[in-house]
Amino acid sequence: MQTKVNVQYFAQLRELAGASACDIAIESGETAAQLYLRLAEQHGFPLSLSDIRVAINDEFTSTDYPLTGGERVVFIPPVAGG
């Protein structure tokens, strides 16, 4: 079933995607990892999946998380605070 999620981008991913947030059509059950790989190809993200953490609805989660639609998804590149 087709549905959609809201993807928010930060840092280099925001610059490469050219947007801070975007609604993306998905197939229900598509994992966060599958979505990242799709977006990485589309936007030329240089980071491999192993460099990325995933947050769903503002909480860290597994990259295997199966999306059902309506989630807020953030792909977190390596952090550099402090």
Partner: protein, 147 residues
């Protein structure tokens, strides 16, 4: 009175105001404060300024979790962490950690723990603007955990 305060702020950190606004702490003999300032060189490259960007909602949650871990692990009485976002100039404070505890040892330990974990876990990013006009999103750590 163990308590935790965290904030992400887009204006200059008021380090004097933060120092002067400690909670009542008659039972605490140790106060440790750490400030991280913007350095003008990184990996041999001359840095002109920095931009910090945060995923505010999750960054605040994770900062609070780290501070609560520090309270639990080291038994300190009070922790406050303020982190900047936006454009920062050289020598400007980017982060301030303040800790009150009965004795100094646990406050030093908690401060080191909080800064180490913050750099590894909190979704905040840093873009360096170099003197030669180029830029780079720096990569202080591999953010991967056991998820």
């Amino acid at each position: 009175m163990a308590s935790v305060e965290c904030a992400i702020v887009d204006k200059s950190l008021d380090v004097v105001g933060l120092r002067e606004s400690l909670p009542p702490h008659a039972d605490c003999g140790g106060y440790v404060c750490f400030e991280g300032h913007v350095r003008d060189i990184n990996h041999g490259r001359k840095v002109a300024r920095l931009e910090y960007e945060a995923y505010d909602a999750l960054a605040l949650k994770e900062m609070r979790r780290i501070c609560e871990e520090a309270v639990e692990t080291f038994g300190v009485n009070w922790v406050r962490v303020h982190h900047r976002t936006g454009m920062l100039t050289i020598e400007e404070p980017a982060v301030m950690v303040q800790i009150l505890s009965r004795h100094r040892a646990e406050a030093f330990d908690a401060c080191r723990y909080i800064m180490n974990e913050l750099k590894e876990r909190v979704p905040i990013w840093k873009k360096e603007f170099y003197a030669d006009g180029t830029t780079n999103w720096t990569r202080c750590s591999h953010a991967h955990m056991n998820y």
